[in-house]
Amino acid sequence: MKANARHHGKVTVVDLSGKITIGEGDIKLRQAVNSLLDEGRKNIVLNLGGVSYMDSAGIGELVACYKRAREKGASLRLLNPNGKVQDLLILTKLQEIFDIYRDEREALASF
């Protein structure tokens, strides 16, 4: 899994690609989000467009990131979950919890 952060003013978009699974992807996701929160970033968009699939550990880490962001007074939103990732968010009812956007401009403007 790769994570690449882009800053658009007060909003940071993290482009994620590959798979978010136990032992690697989940750890990289945690590190990427923790790093932004430690820098004081308050508005984070996780771009899931390049993520092929996740397992229960990846889904769990996504929830953990969401909770850590809230604890630090930050907001974490999702962009472009596709295919299997979208299926898993629907299956776990997490699409009702996360703010999910299809268009990056809309995601950026939502903060």
Binding site: T21, G23, Y53, D55, A57, V63, L91, T92
Partner: protein
Amino acid sequence: MGRNVRLRLESRIAYVDLVHEMAEGLARAMGFAKPMALNIALAVREAVINAIKHGNAMDASKQIEVNFEQDDGLFRVRVLDQGAGFDWSHTANPLDRENIFRTSGRGIFFMNHFVDRVEFQRRRGKGTEVVLEKRILPAGRAGRGAEVIKRRKG
């Protein structure tokens, strides 16, 4: 008549991807469409993670065994650990409102969703066996898979 592929591995998370890829490849060879093959592989993946984490308690000196079988129109995968056993019968429903923010506890839920049958069996003094089954459809393509498995077995 069953034809088996058997893996015996140390309890290391690093091997989860290997089992996932093998499950997905065999499912494709049996005629499952790509999205369904991924579903099966995700179910197998969760069973293997459970066996390593909860069965063998991350003890790399303990092994897990994964048996892939094509039998009677079924793709059956058996995952065995050597641990003291874990309680699979009292897992919380991850869809309940009070559990939605939990960061774990979705593995068995995924297994149940992605295959037709999931069965846990505690083997006296030998750990736990998880059996996953998915019916092979369409039946017309199953024979090709059987040939592939036979070839792999050598």
